[in-house]
């Protein structure tokens, strides 16, 4: 930067820079999102174009940017109208694992029916949006946010991505502090920590959860995730 020597000005700018920078959690969440998109369907960089006359290049570049302006440019493959049906399945970011046939307690609340899945790429979009929306104004909105977020967290866990699930839980805690579904949040948090191998030495997370919610329907699942389900044979039968 040229010619900026005023200390007060420099301090304000330095602080603003820090205030604008992404947190470690945001950097990690973004990295996972980009990796998932790249791993599952964003077309690889096109091969080097053969030599062509300058005017042809100009026309092609102009056309490409025009298309981008219309919503189908650089990342046409990831928009709502993908170029080919095959790409739709290819770009699905977080595949939904088949649901267990067992009557295990399901962390997704039963309320709204699950709509038909949108085009693959949108799953990730919707998931991010669900946890990144501004704080809801009414209890009904809060509950809707919680329901959507918990579903996405559940999906991340099923996909074997406990770190992402924890990031979503952090987002949800910020967007809807407390909330109406604390038991579900606590269960998912415990499962995510155990799946991520974050169980502190000498501390049984499943026991903590069970102590807080002794009659929880999620107890068996939590115990299974934390490796303590041998204590409760009755729970394991309900899970399978």
């Amino acid at each position: 930067m040229d010619d900026l020597d005023d200390p007060a000005l420099k301090e304000v700018l330095s602080r603003a820079r820090r205030g604008w920078s992404p947190t470690a959690g945001e950097v990690e969440r973004l990295r996972r999102g980009v990796e998932a998109a790249l791993a599952t369907g964003i077309p690889a960089a096109p091969p080097a174009a053969p030599k062509m006359p300058a005017w042809v290049r100009h026309v092609l570049v102009t056309a490409a940017f025009t298309a981008a302006g219309a919503g189908a440019g650089y990342w046409a493959g990831r928009r709502a109208t993908p170029p080919a049906p095959a790409a739709v399945s290819a770009v699905r970011v977080i595949p939904t694992a088949p649901r267990s046939p067992a009557p295990a307690p399901v962390l997704e609340p039963p309320a709204p029916a699950v709509a038909a899945p949108p085009p693959a790429r949108r799953i990730d979009r919707a998931r991010h949006a669900s946890v990144a929306t501004p704080p809801p104004a009414t209890p009904a909105e809060s509950l809707a946010v919680e329901v959507r977020a918990l579903r996405n967290i559940e999906r991340a866990l099923r996909d074997g991505n406990p770190g992402l699930a924890q990031a979503f839980l952090d987002d949800l805690d910020r967007a809807v502090p407390g909330g109406q579904m604390r038991e579900e949040r606590s269960a998912l948090r415990t499962i995510a920590r155990c799946n991520a191998g974050q169980q502190p030495f000498g501390l049984d997370l499943a026991d903590e959860f069970t102590a807080a919610y002794p009659s929880s329907a999620y107890r068996a699942r939590v115990q299974q995730a934390c490796g303590t389900d041998s204590h409760s044979a009755g729970d394991s039968s309900s899970r399978r």
């Binding site: 005023d6 007060a8 820090r18 205030g19 947190t23 973004l30 998109a37 960089a45 981008a68 990342w75």
Partner: protein, 184 residues
């Protein structure tokens, strides 16, 4: 700009370790530019992801004709414009440059430091909101991102003298705003 990955590229960086290095080194730059260009917090994830996917596609063609940050800014600016256009079409209540407090997940600085950072960020955002787009971009690049004026001129594709003129005007306006903040 030399691309050096601070850590060995992980599996997820493969097959293009260079992309991982660009991400690690410039994610903050992209994020701040998106904020400065009016993308609200709720849309930052989405927009930043778009930027890096475009970077991934185009990086093999990047031959260093421009500095990497200049090149990244061109992509970021394009993505931000697309997102704003899309949000306008959807009629969402996007309010560009509305001051927002940063999230409180990163416990590194103390709460007082974070509060001061948030206040400064909000002050700068309010100042940016009063600028037209041309001056806003100069402020963002020269003041927030500490680019040199020749870099700013290259990033915005404007003549060097124009960049200097805008820089001087923005600096004077910012200093006036700062004085009002200090003494008002």
């Amino acid at each position: 700009m030399k691309l050096v990955h601070p850590d060995p590229p992980s599996d997820t960086d493969q097959p293009d370790g260079r992309f991982g290095a660009v991400y690690a080194e410039h994610v903050g730059f992209v994020w701040r530019c998106l904020r400065g260009l009016g993308i609200p917090s709720a849309g930052l994830d989405d927009a930043a992801q778009d930027v890096f996917l475009a970077v991934h596609r185009q990086l093999p063609g990047f031959r260093g004709e421009a500095s990497l940050r200049t090149w990244l800014y061109a992509i970021t600016r394009h993505v931000a414009a697309n997102h704003r256009r899309r949000d306008r079409r959807k009629g969402s209540a996007l309010t560009p440059l509305q001051p927002e407090l940063p999230s409180l997940v990163d416990p590194q600085p103390g709460p007082l430091e974070r509060a001061a950072d948030a206040q400064a960020a909000a002050f700068v955002e309010r100042f940016l909101a009063k600028l037209d787009t041309k001056k806003r971009e100069v402020f963002l690049l020269a003041f927030v991102e500490e680019m040199t004026i020749p870099e700013v001129a290259a990033a915005l594709s404007i003549p060097l003298n124009t960049a200097y003129t805008r820089f001087r005007r923005v600096r004077a306006a910012f200093q006036r705003a700062l004085e009002r903040r200090t003494h008002g």
